[in-house]
Symmetry: C2
Subunit: 253 residues, 2 copies
């Protein structure tokens, strides 16, 4: 059996059920290619399951995924992912490879930035359009699908949850100042008039952890704010309803 | 301190961190108005935290929420919710009432139907439009916002996650046969030509539990299928991409 296990977003968000599975598994891996699991979190999980957790890097996931699937033919293997598994294509490919080899797969779900960020914003859950990811801009590569998603959502009066790209080479997600800068640069580049320095956005850093920080402010003010480092996301709201205004005034003070 | 605690979607999805909080709390409640937590799951949590869990019904949440907030002024109070907290307005109002009284609130996140259903479908996470809920139809009340959401998503070539209404009076969520019937009735009523008996949808029942059932089939075939009872959701896909077709053929067999 192959277990795909969510470690959630907080330090101790891994579920009781997942701990039980990992305790019994003959081998436990963690995946470090699509997202980061902090050292302290890995230690917490390792202490709780009473065994070491082996790293699976990109290369190992691609080249050795069949080896792991074969291990899972004769014993219980667990792979721990940050957040909730199966969102990234890499995880689905593991699922498919296992299925092709006749290995059963069980997913143990955990907290995800998606529902946590939507909930913590106080905004109406039913008013979120499609999610987008802000990718790093270079001189030669300026991906704008996130800008097009915001434009499409705004034209339907829907909020946009913006995730920040994870860069496995550096072992960290894009930090907020860079993401806010790219938002403004994209606007200057494509000029649809949907984002300005005065646009108020929600930013959330280290959600679900002791170092959580939530702000609702204009992009220019946020650029001057003292924002902690850590996994972050941005919500660019559509026009707020009266109820949303009221809720937000109590939740962001 | 007031702790809003997610019990997740699976029987043992509650996090280690949440169990620690509940063990130390002077009182632990669970909320039974916006969603159901099964008896076996409550027993599992109660056994793990070593104390009883008191029910909070709708009336209690509305009339006694200030009493609970006041309890939380002088001691640690935990309220357990199904899934991930703060999605429902009821939860946000608790948050606001506590804040107004100067009581600190901490949210312990857990697995949610939102990310779990999107992940388990195999569909591209970035191609989901806004989520909708199918509400019960009566002779005099036929809410169609879900149909309008599907139409809007389809016109943007986006998938729609459809949740099924929870009815606190009966203590259960709408079951799939009724939801599929309402989908067809809504189409007959409004006739935008977006749903037919032949439309293939994903249905997921008891996600994240031992009784999990996932199907991808036409509405007419699903109406004839032997589908288990339990909390369910439907995904009405937009046009599938080639990669999605490939992934789904391995994940739904």
């Amino acid at each position: 059996m192959l277990y795909l296990i969510g470690a959630g977003i907080g330090e101790s968000d891994i579920s009781i059920g997942s701990i039980e599975v990992c305790r019994k598994a003959s081998k436990v891996y963690y995946e470090s290619y699509t997202s980061l699991i902090s050292e302290s979190k890995l230690r917490f999980i390792s202490d709780n399951i009473g065994k070491n957790i082996e790293e699976l890097t990109r290369g190992m996931l691609e080249e050795e995924s069949m080896r792991i699937v074969k291990e899972a033919k004769s014993s219980d293997i667990a792979i721990i992912f940050s957040g909730d598994p199966l969102i990234a294509t890499t995880h689905k490919i593991l699922f498919i490879n296992a299925t092709k080899e006749g290995v059963k797969v069980e997913v143990k779900h955990s907290s995800s930035i998606i529902s946590a960020a939507i909930g913590e914003s106080g905004l109406d859950f039913y008013r979120f359009g499609k999610v987008a990811t802000i990718s790093r801009w270079t001189d030669s590569y300026k991906p704008v699908s996130f800008y097009e998603s915001i434009a499409a959502n705004q034209s339907n009066n829907l909020h946009t949850l913006l995730l920040l790209d994870y860069m496995p080479e550096s072992g960290s997600s894009m930090q907020l100042p860079e993401a806010l800068r790219i938002l403004i640069e994209a606007e200057n580049h494509y000029g649809k008039g949907i984002i300005s320095e005065g646009t108020k956005v929600f930013v959330m850093v280290n959600l679900g952890t002791d170092k959580q920080q939530k702000l609702y402010s204009s992009i220019s003010e946020l650029a001057r704010s003292n924002i902690e480092k850590g996994p972050s996301c941005i919500i660019l709201p559509a026009k707020l309803s009266d109820i949303e205004e009221e809720i937000i005034s109590s939740m962001f003070y």
